[in-house]
């Protein structure tokens, strides 16, 4: 194979310089940063995904902001949803990760029991299985103060509207835990004419806790999985979607 002809001594195409000769590639070019050195967190433009509804995320305008400090001062960050920048066009990096660590360790569930599982949810909150030990306790009665919606109990068609309204009233970032077989898949009331076979038909679900009802330890395990999920996702939610989980033909 014939090599492309290169001129000598002209800029990047200079054939006399090998890639290893570049200044950044020489031995000793990188040294560890000092521990107490200040690092400016940067914002990476999002090339991975886009909003299905552009109006929902700041008009879908691409941002030219590259530093978190600028972002904080801009109108993009001054939004009501508690997350750095409402636009999906940027991926906040370090600060959002730290914020998610804080969020994961202070989950405020909504005090909303639908049926049998609510008793086990209360049991998980009281003295014997004290959820407060992992930062999951303060059950809020108002959806505007809550982070996590634990759907505990059978969801009927009549209750679906109020539950959706509760979910929409919760501020971002928010998560949903489906507790019990009825909310995961319909459970023992799957064949009924008045129940919804799994709440993932009407709202996104982050963690499924099966059982009829699950033990309090099971709910705590599910909430710990949610904490891990929040930490792992680092502020982005690519796979979060509403839709039937039943594969075709089942």
């Amino acid at each position: 194979m014939k090599r492309a002809t290169r001129t000598l001594g002209v800029g990047a195409g200079d054939a006399s310089q090998m890639p290893s000769d570049q200044p950044a590639n020489r031995r000793g070019a990188l040294v560890p940063r000092q521990r107490d050195a200040l690092v400016e967190a940067i914002v990476v433009p999002n090339t991975l995904w886009e909003a299905a509804d552009p109006l929902a995320y700041g008009g879908g305008q691409p941002t030219e902001i590259t530093h978190l400090r600028e972002l904080e001062l801009s109108s993009d960050a001054r939004r009501d949803n508690g997350r750095w920048a409402a636009t999906l066009e940027i991926i906040p990096t370090k600060a959002d990760y730290v914020l998610d660590l804080i969020r994961a360790n202070s989950l405020w569930p909504l005090l909303s029991g639908l049926a049998c599982c609510a008793i086990e949810m209360m049991s998980a909150a009281t003295s014997k299985n004290d959820m407060d030990r992992w930062g999951m306790f303060p059950f809020r009665a108002s959806p505007r103060q809550a982070d996590v919606l634990i759907v505990a109990g059978t969801l009927t068609t009549k209750m679906a509207g109020p539950l959706l309204r509760l979910w929409e009233q919760m501020p971002e970032p928010k998560w949903c835990v489906a507790m019990g077989d009825c909310t995961c898949s319909g459970g023992r009331y799957k064949r009924s004419y008045s129940t919804i076979e799994g709440i993932d038909r009407i709202m996104p679900v982050d963690v499924y806790v099966p059982g009829c009802p699950p033990r309090p330890e099971g709910l705590i395990y599910g909430m710990m999985k949610l904490q891990q999920l929040i930490k792992d996702r680092r502020g982005h939610w690519p796979e979060r979607a509403i839709g039937p989980t039943v594969p075709d033909g089942v």
Binding site: T156, K158, M159
Partner: protein, 410 residues
């Protein structure tokens, strides 16, 4: 996403179960019925001078589930109210008609989910009457033993909820400690903590085991002491007692007219208890009292349930002493086809008379299973009890009736 967005759901076609149909189900919007459908609705949804509506629920921290109450208030005083039911309607009776006699029992558990065994018991008794099955005596004793244990757990939860609805947080922590011990014990016996599916047609599913007995013995040594501590926790609290006294008073005639049963009726002075009035199982062989009180207010209903716990402890003690040996399950064919007929059975659940009426048409599935739930009966009397009280007291009245929404909506 708008709340009125349609929900799609998938179900098998009635003609060919292999064909999956996708159908759209509309979401119910909880709006008042306009135009009004009845005269009562027209009267209720017309505001008088100085009156306004207050909507409580279906998501409300103290409504014991998904009950919605539209309250008409004048200042702080409740003048009228309209409970809206059906937020937990799961179609249990219809499901039971389409399953065989064994499967029907598992649909009944989550009705009164705080005391699930009492939902199975009348159905099992009605089916046994249909099939002329004689239950072994040991199985009957085990049923009584586990049932009374669950009654204590249910009354313990009542105590916690009652205080929680009045604003006290500590009692519910205490009551859940007691409830968790009992439920773990029953978990060792039945395999589940809440929805047991333990009573079977012709007996119970499994004999007493070592873990259950050791846990029970451990608990029995301190049960009386723990109960006394629970009693002392609130009975001497002057704020609690003065708030509860004369609240939601119902007299004897009204209670009988509204078909109240259980502790709510006995708190008005009527000593009606299904265990004594229409004896079933081995209750005639056991010695216990029927506590009554005459006041008929919230405090009487609360204190009466505490008295019942003592009687339940007595029954458990006698059960353990008199427990006979023998099988725990009658010999039955796997496929049950009773003769056509009708059977009625009632038990005394922690909330009152829990009854089932079963009709058999000779097939392996019940033709009809009617569920009579005391929570539903008691909830109809809130319209009489609440008007005249303050808004803050409505939930206390509701809690003192102890309705469970699973049983109300079925």
């Amino acid at each position: 996403m708008a709340t009125s967005a349609p929900i799609s759901r998938r179900r098998a076609s009635a003609d060919d179960p292999r064909v999956i149909l996708e159908e759209q189900v509309g979401v119910f919007e909880p709006v008042p019925p306009f135009p009004p459908r009845t005269e009562r609705e027209a009267e209720f949804y017309t505001l008088g001078d100085g009156e306004m509506f207050l909507n409580m629920g279906p998501q409300h921290p103290s409504t014991h589930g998904v009950l919605r109450v539209v309250v008409k208030i004048n200042g702080e005083v409740v003048t009228d109210l309209d409970p809206v039911l059906g937020y937990l309607h799961r179609g249990v009776e219809k499901l039971c008609e389409n399953s065989d006699y064994h499967q029907a029992i598992c649909y009944l558990d989550p009705l009164e989910y705080v005391s699930a065994l009492f939902c199975e018991w009348p159905a099992v008794m009605a089916f046994e009457k249909l099939m002329d099955v004689t239950v072994p005596r040991r199985a009957e004793y085990i049923r009584v033993l586990s049932g009374e244990l669950l009654r204590i757990a249910s009354h313990a939860l009542f105590m916690g909820w009652m205080a929680l609805d009045l604003g006290g947080l500590t009692p519910i922590l205490w009551s859940f400690i007691e409830r968790d011990e009992i439920v773990e014990m029953l978990g060792a016996l039945t395999g589940a903590r809440m929805l047991f599916n333990y009573y079977r047609i012709g007996g119970v599913n499994g004999d007493l085991n070592h873990e259950f007995m050791s846990r029970l013995g451990d608990w029995m040594t301190r049960a009386t002491e723990q109960h006394d501590a629970n009693v002392r926790l609130l009975n001497e609290n002057e704020i609690f007692v003065r708030r509860m006294r004369d609240l939601g008073r119902v007299d004897r005639e009204t209670a009988l007219r509204m078909c109240m049963t259980g502790p709510n009726l006995r708190a008005t002075g009527v000593p009606f208890d299904v265990r004594r009035s229409h004896p079933y199982s081995v209750y005639p062989e056991l010695d216990f009292d029927i506590p009554t009180r005459d006041e008929g207010d919230c405090l009487a209903r609360y204190l009466l349930r505490l008295d019942e716990v003592k009687q339940s402890l007595r029954i458990i003690d006698q059960c353990l002493n008199q427990m006979p040996d023998g099988p725990v399950m009658a010999k039955l064919p796997r496929l049950l086809r009773p003769r056509p007929g009708r059977a009625y059975a009632a038990v005394e659940s922690p909330r009152g008379q829990y009854a089932n009426y079963a009709i058999s048409d000779g097939t392996d599935q019940p033709f009809r299973l009617r569920i009579h739930d005391p929570s539903f009966i008691h909830l109809q009397s809130v319209g009489l009890l609440m008007p005249g009280h303050l808004i803050a007291d409505t939930m206390a009245v509701m809690a003192s009736l102890d309705p469970i929404m699973g049983g109300v909506d079925k």
